[in-house]
């Protein structure tokens, strides 16, 4: 109920605000250039309070303007200076501390926070809630809390609010859930019904709902070891608790007799008992195929896998096991009359035995040539002797290396080659730098 009303209110406010902003902007343009302020922030109308605060003597204003200009550069500079030393969380925190201690009025904190937000991924703290809270803490407390209904009705301290919303938005994009501290800080800084508070509430409404929406979550940190990664991927593809992962060969470097160095690729495969059963039932006169590579994206990582499959059995080849009346000691397994199911759909569906043919096994390797895959097949043959009689054909596409290169080229163009399809995880996680127009538009819409 209240939600649409709020939205409506906000919209009218926004309209009002925009027109007001335009007026104020017109009035102000000559005196204050605000050259570095992002244009998008304009849609917040300045509150009467802020307008009042602006009416300081021109001299003072100029000085502060100069100072801010200067400080703006120093914020980025500060981070860059530190960055030369080490890009760590401790360093980042130190910069924030330096800023907060430098000036009791926290002059230029908005710019500082924007700068800090930009630098977060660089310092590897973009997923750290405490850092976000620390950044929020940079805002002076109670100053921006509206004190009367007029202030509350209009946008009180719009740039500050906008900045805090931006901070929350970055948290959102990285999938970081705010905590109680965040809320307390926001209340202290902006009051109960401010825009950042609303943003916080929206995040708190949706985040818990979406937290476990992906039934197949990918861990934030993928295994480093390629074999472990392959194991993880194979289990993910096969999704069968009975399936067994076998490492057919570990990656290693060998020196041959002639002195050449040969790097052996790793080969990791997976097969489930039901797949083994399907394979034993396979008609040995028909070939099986090794196909691949097929890509599998895990967040920003792409890996490739190969499958061993066969064509679907011909319709006349499908032999139904003859009914043996002497099979079950206790009850008839089949009834002896001629009546089919009425309107009942055949709901049976076998994950492995598909119309496009059964898949018998899957493997991953870092070298997708025929020789390597042949090794996999011979490894499989130990547990599936039938493979010895079945002709195996290799239908391999361009190797993953080339594909890797392709992906690299693509990523240069796009930054996010995985595109929408790869938003497997529950939250988008773009670099804030590459946040496109769309994002901005969306964030505006939310406000």
């Amino acid at each position: 109920m209240t939600c649409p009303r709020c939205l409506l209110q906000l919209q009218t406010l926004g309209l009002l605000g925009r027109s007001a902003a335009r007026c104020v902007g017109l009035l102000r343009t000559p005196s204050s250039g605000q050259p570095s302020e992002p244009q998008v922030l304009r849609h917040f109308h300045p509150s009467p309070g802020s307008a009042k605060s602006r009416s300081v003597p021109a001299e003072f204003d100029r000085e502060s303007h100069k100072k801010r200009n200067k400080s703006l550069i120093t914020h980025d500079d500060l981070f860059e200076q530190v960055a030369q030393e080490a890009k760590t969380k401790a360093m980042f925190n130190k910069v924030v501390d330096i800023f907060t201690k430098r000036d009791i009025r926290r002059r230029g904190h908005v710019e500082f926070i924007y700068a800090a937000l930009r630098k977060m991924p660089e310092f590897g703290v973009e997923r750290d809630l405490t850092v976000y809270n620390k950044l929020l803490d940079v805002f002076p407390k109670e100053v921006f809390v509206p004190r009367n209904f007029i202030q509350r009705m209009f946008n009180h301290y719009p740039r500050q609010q906008e900045c805090a919303v931006q901070l929350l938005e970055q948290m959102e994009n990285y999938g970081i859930m705010p905590n109680m501290t965040t809320k307390v800080l926001l209340v202290q800084i902006f009051g109960e019904k401010s825009h950042p508070m609303r943003k916080y509430q929206r995040i708190m409404y949706w985040f818990p709902k979406f937290k476990h929406i992906n039934p197949f979550p990918i861990p934030q940190k993928l295994p480093e070891d390629p074999v472990d990664l392959a194991r993880f991927c194979l289990n993910r593809i096969a999704n069968d608790l009975d399936a067994k992962v076998t490492v057919y060969q570990m990656a290693c470097t060998e020196v041959t007799e002639s002195g050449e160095e040969v790097t052996l690729p790793y080969i990791v495969g997976i097969q489930s008992p039901s797949q083994m059963e399907l394979l034993t039932k396979h008609n040995p006169s028909r070939p099986v195929f090794v196909e691949g590579p097929f890509p599998l994206w895990l967040r920003k990582k792409c890996v490739y896998y190969y499958i061993l499959r066969a064509d679907p059995p011909l319709p006349n080849e499908k032999v139904e096991e003859p009914y043996d009346p002497e099979r079950c000691l206790d009850y008839p397994l089949q009834l002896d009359f001629d009546l089919g199911r009425d309107l009942g759909d055949d709901e049976s569906f076998d994950v492995e035995d598909l119309d496009e043919g059964p898949v018998f096994a899957i493997c991953m390797t870092n070298q997708g040539d025929e020789a390597t895959l042949n090794q996999w097949i011979s490894g499989l043959q130990q547990s599936n002797p039938v493979l010895g009689q079945v002709p195996t054909l290799f239908r391999l596409d361009a190797g993953p290396q080339e594909l890797d290169m392709l992906a690299d080229i693509k990523s240069c163009h796009n930054h996010r080659p995985e595109s929408e399809l790869l938003k497997e995880d529950w939250l988008p996680e773009e670099e804030p730098e590459v946040m496109g127009d769309e994002e901005l538009r969306r964030s505006q819409r939310m406000k």
């Binding site: 859930m177 708190m204 985040f207 818990p208 937290k211 476990h212 608790l241 043996d324 002497e326 099979r327 079950c328 000691l329 206790d330 009850y331 008839p332 397994l333 089949q334 009834l335 002896d336 009359f337 001629d338 009546l339 089919g340 199911r341 009425d342 309107l343 009942g344």
Partner: protein, 582 residues
């Protein structure tokens, strides 16, 4: 009950009037029962048997002297030669000790049954006398590590030796009752047979003596209940079995196994009833003497209800068991295996409820080893498991009926599916009629009715249930046809319905007879019969309403979904209630 289009239970003439035995037989059985009862009350120390997990030799000797090892072996072979009915009567007393009951049942209900059913004259002459006297003890070896009901996965193999005089047995059998000391075993194994020039593996049955050699028994299993009975693994390592020890013919083992299993079950009804009757005596004593708030326990409604439940169950079990036994004793080879299965399912589940209620009457005392209740609870738990699990037996009950109904109704349903309007209208009329409560007259009540008028209300309920059941089965066949085999949840309800209908029939038949011949306390029987029928009527109606609905409505689909999610993950998948996401 032929009118319902779904005949399970046998026709009216078979269940009405309730089967009787002759006066001489009655006298004979009473003479037999008295010493057995005395023996069990005085000589058998069940607590000790349970504690030591062994039946003492003197107890076994006592049983042998009483002739209890050869109850059903004909007198010419030295047994008691009793009928099924009399066997059921003895089972009531034998069941007072679970371990002894299982030992004896493994010996004669399944162990030597093969020789009785399919043995040649020579085999009978050779083995039965010693088995009847208890000098030799028999066991039944069918189950294998990889094979319960699935005959195709039996791995034990019998190969003919080169001189064609012996079979060599190889394989392992598990959960063999009496396996540790049995001298004679009925063993089922795979043999190669040539059918129409094609070599095939078929199951054959063999009489194997431990003395043949090559047989080893494993350690006795440490069980929850029936601890005094011996259950262990038996392995055969090139055990030589002479060709004349093949039971029946080579490759005919499947039928023999099925017959033995089917015939061994009926006595469980009277066994459970015997046990419950004993428990009623024990607990009512306690309920009458224990006082709370200046009232004895027996004055509390909830305690009274427990006793009523026990009495009802015992009454129904008895009625079903002796009706079935009587039907089996009738001359001619009527197949009563479905009825026996129904008795088994009903009595094993009812027995479990009653034993646990009896324990509940005593509360904490019942939970201690000072009283026999906990032992009864443990012993009783085996009943739904062995001799065919209740799940499997429900399938058997339901599918046997469906097979029959399917044969009768196929043509009619096909016509209807083709769109025969006349037939469809006729069906609709029938349905309308039954929905107004006009049921098919089965001839139970009325001028020539077989049910006593004081049970008329209950008989009417039975008739109503039966006619509705007929149309329910028809609609099930219409909906699922042959594929009903895969609809286990539906089959379970069908089986429960059939069991209830059979139970209703049995109590009506028994109570009618009791009134007619003026048995003592027959008014109490009428009360029990009416109470049971009223309860079963409601249960049946509920089940049939569920059956007429499709799976999303009767929760079947949900149940399957719930189970599937768990089984896919092999764990309980709900988040912990203390878990949080923010």
């Amino acid at each position: 009950m032929c009118g319902c289009g779904y005949v399970h239970c046998s026709c009216l003439t078979e269940v009405f009037p309730y089967p009787e035995i002759g006066n001489e037989e009655l006298e004979e059985i009473n003479q037999l029962v008295a010493p057995v009862e005395k023996f069990f009350n005085e000589e058998v120390d069940s607590a000790k048997i349970d504690h030591e997990a062994k039946i003492p030799a003197e107890t076994l000797n006592g049983l042998k002297e009483l002739g209890l090892f050869g109850i059903m072996i004909p007198e010419e072979f030295g047994g008691l030669g009793l009928s099924n009915t009399m066997y059921a009567r003895l089972a009531e007393i034998i069941s007072l000790d679970g371990s002894i009951a299982v030992t004896l049942a493994a010996h004669q209900a399944i162990g030597l049954k093969g020789i009785l059913i399919a043995g040649s004259e020579a085999q009978k002459q050779k083995y039965l006398p010693k088995l009847a006297s208890g000098e030799h003890i028999a066991a039944f070896c069918l189950t294998e590590p990889g094979s319960g009901s699935d005959a195709a996965s039996i791995q034990t193999r019998a190969t003919l030796s080169e001189d064609r005089k012996h079979f060599l047995l190889n394989g392992t059998k598990i959960w063999i009752s009496n396996g540790g000391f049995a001298d004679i075993m009925t063993v089922f194994a795979r043999t190669e047979v040539t059918v129409d020039g094609v070599k095939k593996d078929k199951i054959s049955a063999f009489i194997v003596e431990r003395a043949f050699g090559g047989i080893t028994s494993g350690k006795p299993e440490d069980k929850l209940g029936i601890r005094g009975s011996n259950t262990c693994e038996v392995s055969f390592d090139n055990a030589p079995v002479p060709v004349e020890n093949v039971l029946g013919e080579i490759g005919g083992g499947f039928k023999i196994a099925m017959n033995i299993l089917n015939s061994g079950r009926f006595s469980m009804g009277s066994s459970s009833a015997g046990m419950i009757k004993k428990l009623i005596e024990l607990t009512s004593e306690y309920a009458a003497t224990r006082k709370q708030f200046n009232k004895s326990l027996s004055e509390f409604g909830m305690i009274q209800e427990k006793f009523a439940v026990m009495a009802l169950n015992a009454f129904v079990m008895e009625s079903m068991a002796y009706l079935t036994a009587g039907m089996m004793d009738r001359p001619g080879l009527a197949d009563s295996s479905v009825e026996a299965a129904m008795v088994k399912v009903f009595s094993s589940e009812g027995g479990w409820i009653c034993v646990s209620e009896a324990l509940q009457v005593l509360g904490g005392l019942g939970y201690t080893k000072n009283y026999p209740y906990e032992r009864y609870v443990r012993d009783c738990r085996i009943l739904p498991i062995f001799e065919g699990t209740n799940e499997i037996l429900r399938m058997y009950i339901a599918l046997t009926g469906m097979q029959y109904a399917g044969k009768v109704l196929t043509a009619q349903i096909k016509e209807m599916k083709k769109g025969n309007i006349g037939l469809a209208l006729g069906m609709m009329g029938k349905k309308l009629k039954s929905s107004f409560g006009v049921s098919v007259d089965l001839g139970l009540i009325g001028k020539d009715g077989v049910v006593h008028p004081s049970l008329a209300e209950s008989a009417k309920k039975l008739e109503q249930n039966v006619s509705l059941f007929g149309s329910t089965v028809e609609s099930l066949l219409y909906r699922f046809g042959k594929t009903i085999v895969d609809e286990q949840l539906i089959l379970k309800r069908v089986a429960d319905l059939v069991i209830n209908l059979y139970a209703m029939t049995a109590v009506l038949s028994r109570a009618s007879r009791s009134i007619s011949i003026g048995l003592r306390n027959h008014d109490y029987e009428v009360l029990l019969a009416n109470t049971f029928c009223a309860e079963a009527f409601f249960k049946n109606n509920y089940k049939m309403t569920q059956l007429q609905k499709h799976s999303p409505e009767n929760n079947d689909a949900n149940m399957k979904k719930i189970a599937k999610a768990l089984l896919e993950n092999r764990a309980y998948i709900c988040s912990h209630p203390l878990e949080r996401t923010y």
